[in-house]
């Protein structure tokens, strides 16, 4: 399946992009490993995951076309 991934805050700098498209993703675990292979430094940062604008606390089940966001700790206000 195709998944759009967004990176915010410091993770946009770590990955050098705010947005990246992944093809043939089989699961969230597969996506996570591919991102870690491509951007090994990402494992040193803490972040939460949102899928389609909902923050998830457990490993999500992805569907084709989902938007996954990597969210470092918020610092609004």
């Amino acid at each position: 399946m195709d998944i759009e991934v967004l990176f915010f805050g410091v993770l946009a700098d770590v990955t050098g992009t705010g947005r990246k498209h992944y093809n043939y993703v089989t699961s969230f675990g597969d996506l996570k490993h591919r991102i870690e292979d491509e951007f090994p430094e990402i494992v040193h940062y803490s972040f939460r995951i949102a899928v389609n604008n909902e923050i998830v606390n457990e490993e999500p089940v992805l569907r084709g076309g989902d938007e996954v966001a990597y969210l470092p700790p918020f610092a609004g206000g």
Partner: protein
């Protein structure tokens, strides 16, 4: 850009508009206004000249709605909640956030306004890049 966001600093005219929107309602006995401003803090002997805010706009919009829903359920006297948050660069001394809560009576206006600010700090998906006078920058963690 989502309605809760403004590009660059929150302008004085934006805040005037909030006040104008609240005026004239005869069921509102108090408005509580919080204005958040960028400080020129010094860190490692370098002064901050600006903060660049990046915001996950779609999630921000959803979180603002959740915050409002929660506040309206917890404070029965609230009549209206207005929130404006900056995206992009805000210089030191400029305004990055404005919250106005209108209620029938002052106590709930003040308590709810304080709670909205705390919930924004906790839940609003924004990230701050501190820009220093020498052009270097640092991502700021949550306070």
């Amino acid at each position: 850009m989502k309605s809760c966001l403004t590009q660059g600093p929150v302008r004085i005219s934006d805040i005037s508009n909030l006040l104008a929107k609240g005026a004239g309602y005869v069921d509102r006995g108090g408005h509580s206004l919080f204005i958040g401003q960028v400080r020129a803090d010094v860190s490692d002997n370098k002064r901050i000249t600006a903060i660049e805010y990046s915001v996950y706009e779609d999630l921000a919009s959803a979180e603002i709605e959740k915050i409002k829903t929660r506040l309206f359920s917890e404070f029965t006297d609230i009549k209206n909640i207005e929130i404006i948050h900056s995206a992009g660069i805000v210089k030191a001394g400029e305004i990055a956030m404005a919250v106005m809560v209108s209620a029938g009576h002052r106590q709930q206006a003040q308590q709810a306004c304080s709670m909205v600010v705390e919930l924004i700090k906790e839940r609003f998906p924004a990230w701050k890049k501190e820009i220093f006078e020498d052009g270097s920058f640092r991502w700021k963690s949550a306070e």
